[in-house]
């Protein structure tokens, strides 16, 4: 949505001065004791311990330190502090130094969507959302929050969206892409109805694939290594895209926007055109799919830059950017502080100059709207 400068309320930030918007910053909970007071009392006892709540995760250990050249805080006694645990550190050492004016917080809890204990998952989401608002978002205009939800119980997920739906500090609904079922299934539709009711994009983030309640991380079984697991993750998005288009999610919710985090882009043209080709012959099974599937995909899905595939020749990237209409659909994401796949700015050096401002600023403004520019306090 573009609002003429003259009509813009004085309280909104001036979008023309923004240099970069990072739509994926993984802030870290280093002390679950600080989150506990925000968790409903009945389940608080399950998380109020130093290591946090018990969470099913993939069983792989990352190779190396995992943070790339992210500035590390000084050691605190014997333990090494986490580079994304302190909002002041993140602002000064990352945002200010790299020229990023706004960052959307996405937690480190992307496996919440696969936790079998659904009430605990919902309680964690609730506690983390309130903690994020109070400790990161309210005090800092450079941070915006995501409404983290546990989709395995859509009813509680909807209630959580309703709690924050009008909060200017929250700019999207966030959930893990791993879970019990393809996301087009109608059990999830109330979540999408809530997203459009509050004009909030839905963000999907890989992370829980193969763990907890989810199926194996690939349709043929469990990967053996982190290397194989991470490389396989875009398959989640392929399955969800096909499911959401086929099940008519975008016919029911024509204003829904879906942001795909950390999945790359080069596989998208394949999905679009395989799907279009088959639709011509097979559309009668899902007659509500009225347009070629690629049109729904281009209208409703948005991609993020980290970790952009390392194509051996920039011309391959340029072709793919054209195919996915990157001038509208691609947004800069840093994945801070998980820079083990490279520096997020160096990674996009081959993105053409003509697209750069779209990718760094304007596409995010179009996707998230005025909430990005609004002060983080209500009223």
């Amino acid at each position: 949505m573009v609002v003429p400068t003259t009509a813009r309320p004085a309280t909104l930030r001036d979008a023309t001065r923004l240099r970069a918007i990072d739509v994926d910053l993984h802030h870290q909970i280093s002390d679950w004791g600080a989150v506990a007071p925000y968790v409903p009392r009945g389940l608080r006892w399950r998380i109020s311990r130093k290591g946090g709540p018990p969470l099913a995760r993939h069983g792989f250990k990352k190779v190396g330190v995992g943070f790339g050249d992210v500035p590390m805080p000084p050691a605190n006694g014997g333990s090494q502090p986490h580079p994304a645990a302190d909002p002041v550190w993140v602002k000064e050492q990352y945002l200010d130094k790299r020229g990023v004016d706004l960052a959307i917080l996405t937690t480190q809890l992307l496996s919440l969507s696969v936790q079998p204990y659904v009430d605990l998952a919902a309680a964690i989401a609730r506690g983390v959302n309130d903690w994020t608002l109070e400790t990161w978002v309210r005090p800092f205009d450079c941070f915006k929050g995501s409404i983290l939800v546990a989709p395995q119980d859509p009813e509680q997920a909807v209630a959580e969206i309703e709690r924050h739906g009008e909060d200017p500090g929250m700019v999207q609904v966030l959930m893990g892409s791993a879970g019990e079922a393809p996301l087009g299934r109608r059990a999830f539709h109330p979540i999408y109805a809530a997203c459009v009711r509050y004009d909030l994009p839905l963000a999907l983030h890989i992370g829980g694939e193969g763990a907890g309640n989810s199926s194996p991380a690939t349709p043929v079984g469990h990967p053996s290594t982190y290397f194989e697991w991470y490389g396989s993750l875009p398959q989640s998005y392929m399955a969800h895209i096909m499911s959401m288009v086929t099940e008519g999610v975008f016919e029911k919710f024509p204003t829904l926007k879906v942001v795909l985090y950390e999945g790359g882009i080069f596989w998208l043209p394949h999905v679009m055109w395989r799907f279009d080709k088959n639709w011509k012959a097979q559309r009668s099974e899902a007659p509500w799919v009225k347009d070629p599937p690629s049109q729904y995909i281009l209208r409703h899905f948005y991609s993020t830059t980290y970790p952009l595939e390392a194509a051996p020749d920039p011309k391959y990237l340029h072709q793919t950017l054209e195919m996915i209409q990157a001038e509208r659909t691609l947004m800069f994401s840093s994945n801070y502080p998980n820079w083990e796949y490279g520096d997020p700015f160096a990674m996009i050096e081959d993105v053409p100059e003509a697209l750069r401002r779209r990718v760094m600023v304007e596409n995010a403004l179009a996707v998230y709207g005025e909430r990005l520019l609004a002060p983080n306090r209500r009223g």
Binding site: R186, E247, E251, K280, A281, Q282, R283, P287
Partner: protein, 118 residues
Amino acid sequence: MGTHMVARVDEIPPGGRKIVRVEGREVGVFNLNGTFYALKNSCPHQGARVCLGRVVGTTIPAGVYEFQYSKEGQILRCPWHSWEYDITTGQSVFDPNVKVVTYPVEIVDGQIAVTVAT
């Protein structure tokens, strides 16, 4: 261009069809409830003999999770790749611009007359 008598009316009963050859091309003549239609026997996709396909109905575009099976007897499904065409217009179900070529049909003295352009 010419008009050709391709069959007697009583040769093609309702729901029936006849493949005829007119000026070097094959044409499918269909009887839908007493009205005759002529379509070129060539699918715009890859040239299959589309008029040999099954005559069926289909689920027309509808609301989410609604199945409205209609146009029974009016949809021609190509035998190669299952693209569906409306016999009365030649248009595919998925894109009106994807069409099987159609020819005007008249009934003259109990004969079916098909007019083709050269």
